[in-house]
Symmetry: none
Subunit: 402 residues, 2 copies
Amino acid sequence: MIPLEDLKALARPAKTKIVLLVMDGVGGLPRPFDGKTELEAAATPNLDALAARSSLGLADPVAPGITPGSGPGHLGVFGYDPLQYRIGRGVLEAVGIDIAMTDQDLAARGNFCAVDGEGLITDRRAGRIPTEICARLCTLLEKIRIPGIELIVKPVREHRFVVLFRGAGLEEGLSETDPQEVGKPPLPVRAELTHAERAAEVANQFAAEARKALAAEHPANMVLLRGFSRYPKISKLTDLYGLRAGVIAIYPMYRGLARLVGMEPIKAGGDTVADEFAALEKHFAGYDFFFMHIKKTDSYGEDGSFEKKVHVVEEVDRELPRLLALKPDVIVVTGDHSTPALFKAHSWHPVPVLLWSKWVRPDGAQGFCERTCRFGSLGRLRAAELMPIIMSNAERLTKFGA
Amino acid sequence: MIPLEDLKALARPAKTKIVLLVMDGVGGLPRPFDGKTELEAAATPNLDALAARSSLGLADPVAPGITPGSGPGHLGVFGYDPLQYRIGRGVLEAVGIDIAMTDQDLAARGNFCAVDGEGLITDRRAGRIPTEICARLCTLLEKIRIPGIELIVKPVREHRFVVLFRGAGLEEGLSETDPQEVGKPPLPVRAELTHAERAAEVANQFAAEARKALAAEHPANMVLLRGFSRYPKISKLTDLYGLRAGVIAIYPMYRGLARLVGMEPIKAGGDTVADEFAALEKHFAGYDFFFMHIKKTDSYGEDGSFEKKVHVVEEVDRELPRLLALKPDVIVVTGDHSTPALFKAHSWHPVPVLLWSKWVRPDGAQGFCERTCRFGSLGRLRAAELMPIIMSNAERLTKFGA
């Protein structure tokens, strides 16, 4: 893969507009009765027509055979090798709820849990308490005092929260406290790397103080912590390619991922697919690059709801003409990974990619699916290799060498 | 990509002969009225027949999405990863006009330009003065004296020349002096890397002295300098594979590129495609490996002359039987990059490759073009990955490991 500093040196300004439409987990597997994947079962006349004029391919988000989480999956399509850029879960949660992190911060994902009188866990999610209660408990936790440390504790959703430990010398390399089963006490944080000892001490102090602060609460009377991580050093899309990039995503995590690479959040007026396309229309003049994230293909994939996943794809297809009417210069339709409804989980299968611009060699494919993408002219590539192709199609890269 | 030192360890002698036929910028894009690319529009019965017996594929010269210059494009087909081996423009120009560079040399590409009484540029190319005038002015510049430095100044073509600064401690890392627009003075050379300060000083002295030396000339009364670069450390084909390699190319730059990797220039009796094939016939006994370079596919591509590019391909096809009659053991037909006539410039599109030997698995393709190559058994690969395949087809590599 070409190093990012080389791409940066090749970048040149242009007035072109790019839309990257990611249907989360879009790649599928054939259902037994007719051998069709979700993309093949879906009636998608608009995507099919676009596919015929486009260049298709199959992308591996991380590497062949590797199942990506949401973080690496998106970093890949954003053009960053996920094997090189690693982002902790704590950071993901923090950026996903609009906390401005500094380079003094160590972030962790927290879960409120329930413990009995002996401190043994009885419910790892504290009965999935409502988000409002989570918010109130976070203000209690934020009052904990640890010398030399500023604490920022914010609710995410239900029992989930984020804690930022802000202070000097807090390094990564900590074990998590969730024993992953009930009937056991939360584990102490261990420093897995020697330079993380100060951070382990701080995290353990926080957990001990949290136990006291939550003693009178029920059921959420303790915390579990994991994903301790620092804000990554990552060149923004803006710096690399000199473009203004915006993200349209209903779920905070995807906005957070996009912000990590320099995209600005664009507010959608509601949480439907149609609302996201309306936001694209409304803000089309304001950005050069749009990342649109469709969540529910993945959610229904994980539920094993083949039909419902098909319906989300069809819903996207119905809205697609609104995107086409805006006449972007480059259109990419893909996923961040596969979530086959038959597999009910993220999977390692390569992800269909469609790329249209006036400069592609059209494959003339009959539709957009795993099969047609297998024969596409993009071939089989790493997801992170797409971004240079996208930028060249947008005439935003000059030539390499004389 | 397999490291060159490993390839070198695998090389074994053989009496086989290899012809690498590069049609510069051969890859194209479909024209609107019938959807045919240049290769598809060309009547190429000989290439088509060869393609049916060959293994086809699509090669990325540098990396997917990256548009290569001529240097990286050729290094790729010669088997050198262009991301690893970087060759400055000054060196390219120098080797292209048969200057023997030493490892004490810093080369730069020069343009004669015109400046007004205040030193502001009025013509960045000095009216494209004839090459003979350029040659006379170069002798003036060569008389400049800079303590500790030997100067070699040679004409290239029209307003273009090469200067070699020969002396100790001249390092790379200099900015260019061309402000890229008229009405401004030439820029001073800046050291972009600290160890290049001595070189910057020398280059600036040269520019100041050039101004004086050219004061009485018109219109070429000043110079612009760019592409400051040292001769690269690169293993020659001869050392790597133990073969004697020759280059047949009309344009000096391509001979220069080939000499960089150890090929010997073979004189063609004239500057037509037929002359190049005649040179191949004449010298066939003398070399193991021939690189034949056809320039005009690229020139017409850059001009946007779809039909003329088609005619060059047809001209090559007509001469091809002369090559086949020599019965080389391996034949490769490809380009160093794409230059679609519709795009009028080098582009990032992957390049068709045809490889024939008695050891290929023939694809049985209907012709040689972007489409047939997409389905070829070479698949999609980096150009530099071709060389080991070529050498194995020539029975010039032994097995890796026991």
